[in-house]
Amino acid sequence: MSEAVSHAAGASPVEYIQHHLTNLHVGDGVASLDLDTLFFGWLLAAALVWLSFLVGRQLTAGTPGRLQNLLEAMVEFVDQQVKDIFPGRNPLVGPLALTIFMWVFLMNAMDLIPVDLLPLTARALGIHHLRVVPTTDLGTTFGLALSVFALIVYYNIKVKGPGGYLAMFLFHPFGKFLVPVNILMTAIEEVAKPVSLALRLFGNMFAGELLFMLIALLAFAGYPLLLQGLEGHLGALVKAGVLELSQVLLASLWSIFHILVITLQAFIFMLLSIVYLGLAHADDH
């Protein structure tokens, strides 16, 4: 809340939120680069790489260590999902799904860090804009979704052949008498896959982050009261205390609930990627 407080002295709630929703970026418009998103994406990717390295160094078929146990559980869990959903065999789908799950989960989990902590720290270091949750950036969610989409197209062509893929657009779902409608329908169906993947994750995480900010805004109401209280106004002090308490309570509740959301969203992204890639491998589409 402290950043909110310091903002409150000079900024309105709207400015506070707008400030929080601005990436640390270079360039403008579409041709820009969000440094914070990229930084935290890399940081978490590096954490995964480091974790893999740590476990991979002393991998044993005997009694596994705690870390190996954890990763084994995750790998087996994802492997089971792939086996259940994905028809046939593809050595890429398992690691792809695991990567999506772990990376997205970690990026989502950045949301659980108190909403002002990292931006404030960054400000102390001279960086004035910072968004810490990479999955609230369309660049990340579309990056993942388009990667999956590229694989969908690739495997569609590889399995069905270019002709088969084209036929899918021409004759699906209404047979050969409604070719133009078929093209439109199938195109929408295919494009909807990455778009829904990206927007679902983005929407959930963006809304979650926004809610954390709104809860932090209680401090805006509390700050003037606190000032009055410090000048000897007892009733205002009590009101400020109540506001602060409700902020803590709400933030705690939302954080706990959000643990479910971030896990679920990572899981859904993984699961749908497997499903879509499975559809791309199905011959009788």
Partner: protein, 157 residues
């Protein structure tokens, strides 16, 4: 909130590299290890089962051997008992025969003694009779004349 192209590209590249790394250094080795462990556990279970089967077989054989040993012990005891009875019977028979023999010889001895005593008594009676008769008939009886008669009398006793 607007989409920035370079972020998109950057995250795609990051994602690609991360997938490659996880496939190469985590997924592959870990599944290999899991497979190896599965094999080990399967081997262990098979070995345990084999051991159990062998133990069961060994137990069966032990029971068999024990049974056989019991049977043989029974046979040996029976034979020993039979032999003991035989020995006892033999000893009994021998003792009986020996007793009989002793009895017989004792009887013969007694008989011999009796006849010897009888002989002696006869002789003495004869002498007594002769002496009595001689005293009674001192005068009238001629020892030589009646000797034959007295001997006949002695033989009748």
């Amino acid at each position: 909130m607007n989409l920035s192209l370079y972020t998109l590209l950057g995250q795609i590249i990051t994602f690609g590299v991360l997938v490659w790394f996880i496939k190469r250094f985590l997924w592959g080795p870990l599944l290999g290890v899991l497979e190896e462990r599965r094999t080990r556990i399967a081997d262990g279970l098979a070995a345990a089962e084999r051991g159990q089967r062998e133990q069961k077989l060994a137990q069966e054989r032990a029971t068999e051997v024990l049974h056989e040993a019991k049977q043989r012990a029974g046979e040996i005891i029976a034979r020993a008992e039979r032999r003991a009875t035989e020995i006892l019977e033999e000893a009994k028979a021998e003792a009986q025969a020996e007793g009989e023999r002793l009895l017989n010889s004792a009887r013969a001895e007694i008989e011999r003694e009796v006849s010897k005593v009888k002989e002696d008594l006869r002789g003495q009676v004869v002498q007594l009779a002769v002496r009595g008769a001689a005293q009674v008939l001192e005068r009238e009886v001629d020892e030589q004349a009646h000797d034959q008669l007295l001997n006949r009398l002695a033989a009748e006793l």
